[in-house]
Amino acid sequence: MNTRFLIYSATAAAFLGLAGCASAPGESIYVPAGSSRAEAPEPPEASSKDDKPRVWRKSEQPEVSEPAEPAPRSSSPSYRDAGDSLSPAAISLIREADNLLAQGDAPAAIARLERAQRIAPRSAEVYFKLSEAYVASDQLGTAEQFTLKGLSLAGSNARLQRSGWLLLADIRRARGNVAGADQAEARAANL
């Protein structure tokens, strides 16, 4: 139980200000489909022949400014320092999962978190939450793997790194891996 408490507090720390950190460095770059030439035509079964051309009425014009186009990339392999931050949609699913966990319904929480994972697959937080849900359902091996996956996306984000390593230390200790736990704790302390 002590372990659990530690784990909860670690992830709770990770989620403080969840909504606050809107733009972490190195968000994924979204690329709309290429030219319309490249897009598949309607499949023969579909019957939407009255496709209207994309015309914006003034009133419907989206109020966002044209997104800054990524500069034409030099042809060198891409990398970044941290994973994606969570979208409001993902945050709302995680909140629902939190409530379910608090009610003791870990399977339902996991289902909700998998939905969040599908729409935010490159956010460390989702995996840490999955880990927490698996701890709650006593599947510590699975929990450890999700923590590692989350850590692989935490990158240079010290807050996420720290909560990830602490989570890992707790899980390892609960699994009887004292050396591994100490190692993880040392990593957290060094951040």
């Binding site: 770059i29 709309p32 079964e45 990524p70």
Partner: protein, 776 residues
Amino acid sequence: MKKSTPSSKRNRKTPRKSPRNGRRPWFWRFVFRASAIGLVLLAGWTVYLDAVITSRFEGRRFEVPSRVYARPLELYDGASISASALERELELSGFRKGDGSRAGTYQRSGGRFVISTRGFLFPDGQEPRRRLALTVYRDRVENFSVLSGEASPIVRLEPAQIGGIYPSHKEDRILVQLEEVPALLPTTLMAVEDRNFFDHAGIAPLSIARAMLANIRAGEIVQGGSTLTQQLVKNFFLTRDQTLVRKGNEALMSLLLELHYEKGDILETYLNEVYLGQAGTRSINGFGLASQFYFGESLRDLQEHQIALLVGMVKGPSYYNPRRHPERATKRRNLVLSEMEEAGLIDSVRAAKARGKPLGVSARPSYSENRYPAYIDLVRRHLARDYREEDLRSEGLRIFTTLNPAIQNAAEYAVTDTLGRLASGETRKALEAAMVVTAKDSGEVLALVGGRDPQYAGFNRALDANRPIGSLIKPFIYLAALEQPERYTLITPVLDKSFTLEFDDGRRWQPKNYDKTERGEVPLHEALSQSYNLPAVRVGLDIGVDVVKDTLQAFGVTSSISEYPSMLLGSVTMNPVTVAQMYQGLATSGFNTPLRTIREVTDAGGEALSRYSLEVDQVADPAAVHLVQYAMQETMQEGTGKSAYYTVPRELTLAGKTGTTDDGRDSWFAGFSGDLLAVSWVGRDDNGPTSLTGASGALPVWSRFMAQVPQHSFSPVVPDGVQYQWVNAERQALTKEHCNGARLVPLISGSEPTQTVSCSGNLQRQIEGWFEGLFR
């Protein structure tokens, strides 16, 4: 006439045997015995029929097929979808273009959508009805809002049905209960087919007489006279031939049925049993499915003119088929509406209004069977691990898969469109292909194409074509090497020079490069991105074939792998799905993620039976995988995959690997973006040669696919213990960004070059690198 013949025969014979006996006592004895036997037989027959009826009625009354659903589309701000894909998705889920305020309709103007969902019972709970508004701009959802219904920043549409697992008799139905049926349906049905349903005992002699009279008067069959009970019995238990015996059985069974069961029970069974159409080999039974099939709507949402049409069709579903014979169907529907009016079910104003309405039938059935045969094939193989075939065919299970219709559509188009333009002549005709697309981080199989004709449910190459993988193995050789950073880095020089291996039994093996040239020393990253054979074999032999084999197995390959050195050039055979499984770990920093096609299975009532959860398992050092990902990105930018950018937008960063086997027998490409992992294969079923390489066969298919799908670039997070440094590979030294030959390369801590070279070319520290000794 008939009577007299036998009696006259008897007359001739009897006088000789018993001249005194008259024929009367004998005749009566015969009649008595015959009737006694007849009665016994009839009683026996009745008991038999009774048993037939009760056994059929008592147990499970219907075998209900299992339904297979696509993944539900999630709508939220930032969701990735094009406006045309959204429209296609809505149609596939049975939405109709309309005002967007009736459940099951949507309105589109440009990129602006208003959608009224019907609500759906998902395994994790009910998604309520909502009215949504959103804009699709640059292939992304914006300004998402819930106009009415429970507020939420994310909403799931009801999923499209993509398949069914049918009972052997091929009857399809959606079971409905009497309480959930709109009241107008049974009352209309009775008004038209059986006015005295609640009063008769199964048969209605008066109606039969009335019908006969009407038929005689009209000179043709205009009225049936059968009660609903008789119709049910006819459909349920009897063959279709019109004999007197059958008529007798029908009457008898109808009486028995009424004796045993409540009227409500019989009515409900009728509503679910009645035959209302045909879709290929599948028959459409019951009003629940017919409503979906003809209107794309749930029975509870039907309006009176729609109910009238369905009830009218009971008389002859193919004769009154509203899609094929709209005029007949309209006439029949209006007749039913008049009957409804006459019976006082609707007032004359509404009846007149309903008669003026169009049929309101959807252009095509919202779901056509076998649209995705290859994908369903994989789903069935996965289901077979946990479910019995007979349960799948009869228990009405609901199977929630991971199929993404937009991705599937793009993959099918990429295969069919590209294959027609590859090679030429006979080879072109013989070319086949397969493709697998998965979600990179969840392992969900989003699309599967089993051949050049995706609608053909035959040989499924994505699963059953086991072919040598060629150079697709190389990333795993170099991964195994890079996991030893003290021996190998991305800039380690590797030898591109031929050699001969001699085995103990005297056989010799002399691998060659594809272009038959040799380049001497090349840096490891280039050996991989240009897919040179000789360095790959040398490195593989250096670290050990067994180590490479272990790596493949760690990444999820369960088929047998030979330990012959030729495996280092990909002589090992795999099907495209296995290749996708193996590449999943490369795409996700070393986390093996089992491929899944099924998220959940529930029973007919929505109770969860199985969940197939996301699993991850770290099987490789993320740092080493990151280095391989670097070289696989280089493949796309400078190496064997660069022709992808003729098709794919330049901004989309990708990573991948080509594969070719001898004489172009197999052309492979495996690669990934930030969101998707895709594997394509092109070759011939007879394993004959083609003129294709991985880059000229499978890559064009792959690129055509990637270009159609809006998605995120591949840009991996730098793992712990990896730093990017400017290096001069030729000089094996660190350097400055703008110096000649400088390249920014990820290095595992501790494996950096120990010397530095300036822009003018002076080595600043003369220390012999540890790596130089390795290749002497």
